[in-house]
Symmetry: C2
Subunit: 137 residues, 2 copies
């Protein structure tokens, strides 16, 4: 079941703008903020409103097709396609803002410890590193 089918199967529709949003996300090498995505769409001459970008991102997130990252140092949110890639985290350069995947999650084992210690039922976690990338050192 590809992205198109996923959308249709949920009762959503595949529209001109939704296709364009997905296309930009699929081609991006790094997670995009709504504003960046909007700028990309303008560059590709796609007539779309920023609100529509936001609403599509919400929908795609609800469908589990994109992941929302909260790189809160930035005061904005970013999205990346979920397809294929597994759960992972990111590191962000404090100087140039570059964001790189960390293909690991060291926290799976920790959940049991936390649940025992706090009596919470652990759901999600967010983890983000920041530092200086090779170019900016």
């Amino acid at each position: 079941m590809d992205v198109n089918d996923e959308i249709r199967a949920s009762g959503k529709r595949m529209t001109r703008t939704r296709r364009a949003v997905l296309s930009v996300l699929e081609q991006s090498q790094y997670p995009l903020s709504p504003t960046e995505l909007y700028a990309q769409l303008k560059k590709h001459k796609v007539a779309i409103d920023l609100v529509t970008v936001y609403r599509n991102l919400v929908t795609l997130k609800e469908l589990g097709l994109v992941t929302q990252l909260e790189l809160h140092q930035e005061g904005q949110v970013r999205y990346e396609m979920r397809e294929g890639r597994q759960h992972h985290h990111h590191i962000r350069c404090k100087s140039c803002g570059r964001i790189v995947d960390l293909l690991l999650c060291p926290l799976k084992k920790l959940t049991a410890v936390i649940e025992k210690e706090t009596r919470f039922v652990v759901g999600d976690h967010s983890l983000e590193f920041s530092g200086w990338c090779p170019r900016c050192q």
Copy 2:
């Protein structure tokens, strides 16, 4: 050197409002958002502007007297006193919003691995768990 001295030593002044902000933070069992802190101050009949709360928090953070948490799921920031307590992380209840300390950091060992893999120089990290607390399960 206590909090008062730290402030004075840096050329800052110990004002009525700053004392009040510190007092509320010191008595809180959990990290406070600027708005919550402001509400607490009102309850204690402290005449203060929300802007002054914000500015004091910035100052106290710069002095290293408070730690700013970025529990980004909330869309707001929280502060807690730093005094004594060491680096740690938090878990937040998705239902009632309660925030609890996790007295551990599993990431120190990981820094070397990440630096080797990404060639970044790692600075900070932020880590936050969410789930359901005992009462909300």
